[in-house]
Symmetry: C2
Subunit: 187 residues, 2 copies
Amino acid sequence: MAKQVSERADVLPLLGEVFREHGYEGASLARITAATGLGKGSLYHFFPGGKEEMAAAVLAEIDGWFEREIYAPLRDGADPAAAIDHMFAACDAYFRSGRRVCLVGAFALADTRDRFAVALRDYFAAWVAALAAALQRLGRTEIDAHAAAEAVVGAVQGAIVLARALGDTAVFTRLLGEARAAVTALV
Amino acid sequence: MAKQVSERADVLPLLGEVFREHGYEGASLARITAATGLGKGSLYHFFPGGKEEMAAAVLAEIDGWFEREIYAPLRDGADPAAAIDHMFAACDAYFRSGRRVCLVGAFALADTRDRFAVALRDYFAAWVAALAAALQRLGRTEIDAHAAAEAVVGAVQGAIVLARALGDTAVFTRLLGEARAAVTALV
């Protein structure tokens, strides 16, 4: 399981998996060491603030990825319709990768919700705002675009909960497809 | 905070709050004692299997409540449309009560998902099946009724994630209202 990592950035995806698998409370030093191959000294070299800093860095990494890959094209890209397609494809690819839990959504339901409240709020607010911006660029009113964006982001999160609970990836595919069809019907 | 409880059934809602607030891993004996007013001896008298039995009992209590209050009227009640209205009203009342996390959904995203896999799957499968049964009784085909039921249960769970993350109860109200409108349009 353990991989050799030598850069802080290399550690973040491995830490993300530990938090996804075991939650914040369950992410023990032993599990983090097993997953990263790093001892306590190296971990505290990269993350002097300990586990709280690790989780904050993972959330920031996820948020940064979404900003570059998803939000910026929706907000500012040349082709908002293509950016919406890309968003749905990225959600599908993420789920199919086997990770199957959105760490930000999981943190929002767990005892981590207060500890990371600002990061969790900013992530979802940015997602809704970027998708709403794309829908406005495609001719929807501000109110309609915001309502539709909120419904889509909610549907993606609900699809993850339901697919996880039912142990059935087809549920995710169906619900994502329905959300996509609702957006396509709008624009 | 602590209340005097003398029956096992009285302990379950208090335990539910501890698991909702702190998650499974974070529900320490100290927190459980503080919330229930029961010492280790009394707790193990009620729950010889320890914390795992406590969480299983809380899930069974929630499932039993849903079976009586929500699923049975949807499946077998005299008025399926009224049973659907009652389901949405109950979701709304639950969220407004201040608890604001569906413990079953939260467990499905956490490291509890494998430990309680059967209970989590049964809960959501029963909810989808009961709502689909009501929609079939109102004239929808089996396929359409199942798809709509899955979308509604997913939307409720997504609404909880998004409202929690954004710290905005109005988001829950809006998304629940949209799910309800979609069902009303169907029947």
